[in-house]
Symmetry: C2
Subunit: 297 residues, 2 copies
Amino acid sequence: MDTGTDGDLPRGIALAWGVAANPQRGPRRELSIEGIVDAAVSIADSDGLSAVSMASVANALGFTTMSLYRYVSAKDDLTLLMQEAGVGLPPLSIGDSDNWRDGLTRWYRAFLDAYRAHPWLLDIPIEGPPSTPNNFAWMDAGLAVLADTPLDPAERVSAVLLLSGHSRWEAQVARFAGETGGTPVPLEALAELVTPEQFPFLAPALASGAFSADGVSPFEFGFLRILDGLEAHIRERAAGRPGATSKPDPDLAFAKDERVRNARDKVRDAEAKLRDLRQKEREAVGKARERAVKLDS
Amino acid sequence: MDTGTDGDLPRGIALAWGVAANPQRGPRRELSIEGIVDAAVSIADSDGLSAVSMASVANALGFTTMSLYRYVSAKDDLTLLMQEAGVGLPPLSIGDSDNWRDGLTRWYRAFLDAYRAHPWLLDIPIEGPPSTPNNFAWMDAGLAVLADTPLDPAERVSAVLLLSGHSRWEAQVARFAGETGGTPVPLEALAELVTPEQFPFLAPALASGAFSADGVSPFEFGFLRILDGLEAHIRERAAGRPGATSKPDPDLAFAKDERVRNARDKVRDAEAKLRDLRQKEREAVGKARERAVKLDS
DNA sequence: CGTTAACTGTGTATGGTCTACACAACGTAT
DNA sequence: ATACGTTGTGTAGACCATACACAGTTAACG
């Protein structure tokens, strides 16, 4: 919440980076952007993104709907900040891997975890590559894994993008696959619709149970193919230009530094605690309002 | 529009398959589901999915909002049918390829084309694997390409799923990358935010221009890696079980049959013509209503 | 043929969404 | 001390999906 320069950034993005211009005069602010986003995330966690409305968020905080607009220029801003809060920071454990295959696997699983923790992330429409700190941190973590690799910068970015896409795809589809594993729609009812005449290749596949998850999950399969493809390319590159490994300035590669880890851990703990406190505060506000309503009536 | 059995399918899906129960009594219907979906698609094509409301669709057809609910149980049904109409059928040219790599490339590009033709497809939230004819036809076409391959059925399905995911991802991200090629947000403004201290790997990549599309597009890269990964796996499978190629009943693999092609082509032409006619009809309705309004006032 | 029951398109109404705008209270800069 | 920007609030408008009651239309059944 620095009183930074607004710049020409969209309001939402400026907020995400903490460089939004802050007011000097006027009454003390009773709300905060963090608190608002936190309440919104909390609602989305329990009741889904559709339950997040300006009214519901304001209500959870015990303020009026319009008060939120003093902090957020439109609901889109709030959504953007929710996304940022929802993805969070990549776990540092990604850096513990000592080969890129393992590293990317950790990265991938961590990304999936984020979607599992906040499924509503998938309901936020994509409006372009998110240019916010946490999202950049994920990209950074992915690039770090590939740092020792003979890929050139653009290829590394492409590789991370590829993986993040597949991760989102898995989360998206798996979300509705349910416990049945395969198609969520009455498979029996479809059986007579999917005739071998109309679907010569799909019908036998359906009959053979290719859609009922027995062995490797379809996404695990895809993920492994992607890794294989990257590996083939990396080998090729390595053969082509053996010493082409262009690492960033080693001085800057301090992500594994223990003090950094500790600092980040502390930050994370503090955040968790804060979140918890805000939750309790909201509950308190809610009960207070209930009592007030009872007294009124 | 057969008077088929409703079954226990969700209304929208039954409609998509043309097996929704049709009424026997009552006044002649003045609208049709096809007409409604067509109008909705037309609106989405020109003004985006957000411009599609029950009111706007009804208005385009010259009827009241509520009349649509005699054909569609909820807006979700309409959205589902729009998706089905939007993806359409895969082009038969996919079958012209004589090796799977080429075939998947055609399949992929065709899928991308569908997204390019109807970008609003990306705005439709995914609510599970779409169990509708056209979507199944795409899966079928993908499986057909892999028919001569030593992959087992589940692996083929996984491969197609993998590709469709990447295709959607590319369409999704590329949609907002705009003509600048890279990040859509002021790159210069971000330059001072993305410090090498905070983003040791991303910052140099940004500076090196890894995000400004020079060479191969990031998605082309990803696509090629996927193909490479599949190729490696296929080779492995081929070595492991040489004769394991399990094709479906060859009698059923008639998709390349010329008569089928012709028939499908005709259907396609007729559809196009119909669409055109409906468009004109709508325009006429619109003008008529304008005139009526003028007369009233 | 007459009656009945189902179905049509319509009009009205409800509860929800986001947000523009005017207001009085407040606090800092001048 | 005054002026001005900012605060949270209340009201209101423009949309949205859709539940429900209505009169007119058609096919099925006796």
